[in-house]
Amino acid sequence: MGKKFMISCDEATSICDKNQYGEASSWDKIRLNFHLLLCKHCKAYSNQNHLITKMLGKYLKACDGSKHLTLEEKKELEKKLNKQLDK
């Protein structure tokens, strides 16, 4: 993401987002941390972003494999499928 050392808030938060997935480069992280020393808005963003990542981790476990088609939906689907098979 470019070579310059001073980055904008937009760039800093982009790196911060990438970092939530462990995919920011070392150079990016250095620039981010320097930016965070100077910018309290992005510092707040960074703290809250970590919190959101934690929340999403909880949420992820909560919704695994819970979706099903209803019996009616399956019957409906079966009818349509049988029609196709008969063609």
Binding site: I7, S8, C9, D10, E11, T13, S14, D17, K18, Q20, Y21, E23, H41, C42, A44, Y45, Q48, N49, L51, I52, K54, M55, L56, K58, Y59, L60, A62, C63, G65, K67, H68, L69, E73, K74, L77, E78, K80, L81, Q84, L85
Partner: protein
């Protein structure tokens, strides 16, 4: 292992065996009940139409998933190229002297000291879901694949035919909007 098992297709049993599996697969990727249902149906139809192309090397399930995958990509392409598609709000100045700085109304506010404890609150889950659902579809799909399904970046780029820089822009915008939504609807309500 002398005899290599050849897989066969039994469309009569597809609904019992795979409907839920395919539905789950689709809904975790596109996050839309009705659309997921339609895609499962279309997958079965395509499977029937193309059953002569089945060589029996992969399992029936794998084969059906590969059909569904294509349909998901097609769907993503469609929403990505649709005219008048919903976009996320801008959060930063896009040009001028302050380019890249926070827009006044989007500046992150303080969440208070209890924010850390708040994430244990079960009602927060509902707020989080609502905020995710409020993301435009194009953003929501990529965000969920990366964050909830834990897909590799390369995998998403391949599956949805986007570049990695494109992916990170999408993730960035999604997360900026998500943070703001949680702030407005939960933390600083």
């Amino acid at each position: 292992m002398s005899d290599i098992k050849k897989h066969t297709l039994n469309p009569d049993k597809w609904i019992d065996l795979y409907a839920d599996y395919l539905f789950n697969y689709a809904i975790t990727r596109i996050d839309n009940q009705d659309l997921a249902k339609d895609l499962v149906q279309e997958t079965f139809f395509s499977g029937i139409k193309g059953k002569d192309n089945f060589r029996g090397q992969a399992s029936e399930r794998t084969w059906l998933i590969s059909i569904l995958k294509r349909k998901i990509i097609d769907h993503y392409r469609k929403i990505n190229s649709a005219k008048g598609k919903k976009e996320v709000r801008m959060s930063f100045f896009t040009d001028g002297e302050r380019k890249g700085s926070w827009l006044e109304e989007c500046v992150p506010q303080t969440w208070g000291n209890d924010a850390e404890k708040e994430i244990e609150n079960n009602e927060l889950k509902g707020a989080l879901e609502r905020c995710i659902n409020s993301l435009p579809e194009k953003y929501r799909i990529v965000f969920l694949l990366k964050t909830v399904q834990n897909y590799e970046t390369d995998e998403i780029c391949n599956e949805l035919d986007i570049s990695s820089s494109n992916l990170w822009v999408i993730i960035h915008r999604a997360r900026v909007q998500l943070r703001k939504c949680l702030e407005d609807n939960w933390f600083n309500k």
